[in-house]
């Protein structure tokens, strides 16, 4: 008995040490990873507010901070940065609103209505999830060219509306709403459309907001497709595509380039800071669905 309790005591003592050690390793790892994610962003802003003479120096605190780089890129007549900003905003907003409307309608039908061909259609939607996106690039480009939509905003926006993520996301949510609420509305004489817009959509406002934010950010950040469609129309570029052309123009003027990167980042960063929880949740759901 005595030996047993002694071993137990020793075990308990060493486990306290082990626990302490684990804590230390844990916080060290957490700090290191945090620095890895944070410091490049800090460096981007630090470089952007350094004067030209200072960017080669590795100091993290600018000796002579300035907004010169920002005003330079905004005032350069060959760089329609303001216009790009408005373009990005307009494209992302239009894309988000259209996505929310058509996806919510489709999701509601797939979630709640019985109709001939529903499972077939939904199966087709599902099937595109495993289709590598690379297949659609060339034919969609030709399609947009045949519609004479190269160099237009609808050419950038329309193909993305085919996406199925929003339909799955909202369908999942609609299925979780208790049916009784809709049935009560129908009994009270509301038609399906009124029930959908007055009962279901308000209940889903959180899910719609989440989808809206993530859709907006995806559209704002998109690079390859707007490059293909708008690449030859300098005035019509989005910020990320315009920023890539900035690289050709300013070559190694890192301060101006990082100022451009900061301008491109600020809207999504603000959105992200305020709505982080929703964004992270919607991504988390992607995995749980699988």
């Amino acid at each position: 008995m005595a030996t047993v309790s002694k071993t137990a005591e020793r075990a308990a003592g060493s486990s306290v040490n082990a626990e302490l050690g684990r804590r230390v390793v844990f916080y060290v790892l957490l700090t290191l990873f945090s620095l890895f994610f944070l410091l490049p962003l800090v460096w981007m802003i630090v470089t952007a507010i350094k004067p030209f003479a200072e960017w080669v120096q590795p100091n993290w605190i600018p000796k002579d901070p300035t907004f010169q780089n920002f005003s330079d890129i905004f005032q350069d007549p060959s760089l329609p940065v303001r216009r790009w900003f408005v373009n990005s905003l307009g494209i992302a907003a239009a894309f988000t609103i259209a996505t929310l409307i058509i996806d919510a309608m489709a999701a509601y039908a797939y979630a709640r209505m019985e109709f001939r061909g529903r499972n077939l259609l939904f199966g087709l939607l599902l099937a595109t999830l495993v289709m590598p996106g690379i297949m659609f690039l060339v034919p969609n480009f030709i399609l947009i060219a045949q519609l004479n939509w190269i160099g237009t905003y609808q050419g950038v926006i329309a193909p993305g509306l085919a996406g199925v993520f929003g339909v799955f996301f909202l369908r999942q949510f609609f299925q979780g709403i208790p049916r009784e609420l809709e049935e009560a509305a129908l009994i009270d004489g509301a038609n399906i459309w009124t029930t959908f817009t007055r009962v279901v959509l308000p209940l889903a406002s959180g899910a719609l907001a989440t989808l809206g934010v993530i859709t907006f950010m995806t559209s704002w950040n998109d690079f390859l497709w707007p490059l293909l469609i708008l690449g030859n129309e300098r005035e019509m570029l989005t910020l990320p595509v315009g920023l890539a052309t900035l690289q050709g123009q300013y070559n190694f003027d890192y301060g101006k380039l990082m100022a451009g990167a900061t301008v491109t980042t600020i809207p999504v960063l603000i959105l992200y800071l305020f709505l982080q929880r929703y964004i992270v949740q919607s991504v988390a759901m992607t995995g749980l669905k699988g």
Binding site: F115, A158, N221, L228, P240
Partner: protein, 315 residues
């Protein structure tokens, strides 16, 4: 799958709900129609149209000269000495290399990060938000930022290397360092996405499993391999698949950081298809490349599910 919380409140309670307008109702079709139009036009139709184009010598600028060539575009990709052969397979090998470099850390480190975040401690959501933050940026911003950090002259990495007395590198214009730079930038930019998915799945695992295991004397490492990994299996396969597909679609990072160089050694298959189809107007050949790559990816993802998903029905 096992982790899916199936909340189907009354899904089957009222069979035929929605058919109350009679045996055939147009209404459901009107609801799905707006999405379906776009789906049919930009996902359904291009699927077949891409295969169709690949059978032609398709030059968009000269619609009168579009001879049907059958499998010629495909055969050319397998004929040593044909025009697209060298560039295509160089890009294929490059992309395969990048997949090998990027996918293991993007899955394994993401899992480690998720385990780190899964504890119960103050500031957890703050760390989660921070790890995910770079994913909210455009690829242009992420790539441009790391292009600057890896610059041989004035870049932060070479400053750091100098300060510890190691030799500088021409990160963006020497092999294999260009791949290192692109891989680090990609990990920084996208690993938060996988981490968040893993974290959500970890939180679904019942704590009682771990309690039972620790009563049985299993240490944390044993618990990780005998509880966490098996419970995460469906999500692991999912993450592995989407990461593989994302890495195979590599475009923006080399486009901005290396322009595909040095001497096309970081030119990805997506860049090649862009070059061939859009910039050089050989769309038939580019479509054939796309179909071939998609076919290979489809095989890889299927294998992925077969190999790692074999024990899926054990629960």
């Amino acid at each position: 799958m096992a982790t899916t919380p199936q909340v189907k409140v009354g899904a089957n309670a009222t069979p035929g709900a929605g058919t109350r307008h009679g045996p055939f109702s147009l209404l459901p079709y009107l609801f799905v129609l707006p999405h379906l139009i776009f789906f049919a036009a930009f996902l359904g139709y291009p699927f077949f149209y891409g295969i169709y184009i690949s059978l032609f010598n398709f030059d968009f600028l000269r619609p009168e000269q579009r001879p049907f060539v059958g499998a010629e575009n495909y055969l050319a990709l397998f004929q040593r000495g044909s025009i697209p052969f060298t560039d295509f397979w160089r890009a294929m090998i490059n992309t395969g290399e990048f997949v090998l470099y990027s996918v293991p850390p993007l899955v394994i480190v993401a899992l480690l990060l998720a385990v780190l975040l899964n504890g119960n401690y103050p500031g957890r959501n703050l760390f989660r938000g921070l790890f995910f933050a770079p994913y909210a940026l455009s690829v242009t911003v992420a790539a441009l930022l790391w292009w600057w950090i890896f610059q041989p002259q004035g870049g932060m990495i070479n400053h750091l290397i100098n300060s510890v007395g190691l030799g500088e590198r021409q990160w963006l214009s020497e092999m294999p360092w260009a791949w290192v730079a692109i891989t680090v930038a990609t990990i920084w930019w996208t690993i938060g996405f996988n981490t968040v998915i893993f974290l959500a799945a970890l939180q679904e695992i019942s704590a009682s499993l771990y309690e039972a295991a620790s009563i049985d004397g299993a240490n944390p490492i044993q618990q990780f391999f005998y509880i966490t990994i098996p419970m995460l299996r469906p999500v692991l396969i999912f993450v592995l698949t989407i990461t593989l597909l994302a890495s195979a679609n590599l475009f923006g990072q080399p486009y901005i950081m290396t322009k595909g160089g040095p001497v096309q050694q970081t030119e990805s298959v997506m860049m090649r298809i862009y070059q061939e189809g859009i910039l050089e107007n050989r769309m038939g050949s580019a479509a054939a490349m796309s179909v071939l790559v998609a076919f290979i990816l489809l095989i890889l993802t299927t294998l992925n599910f077969k190999v790692f998903g074999s024990g899926d029905n054990q629960q």
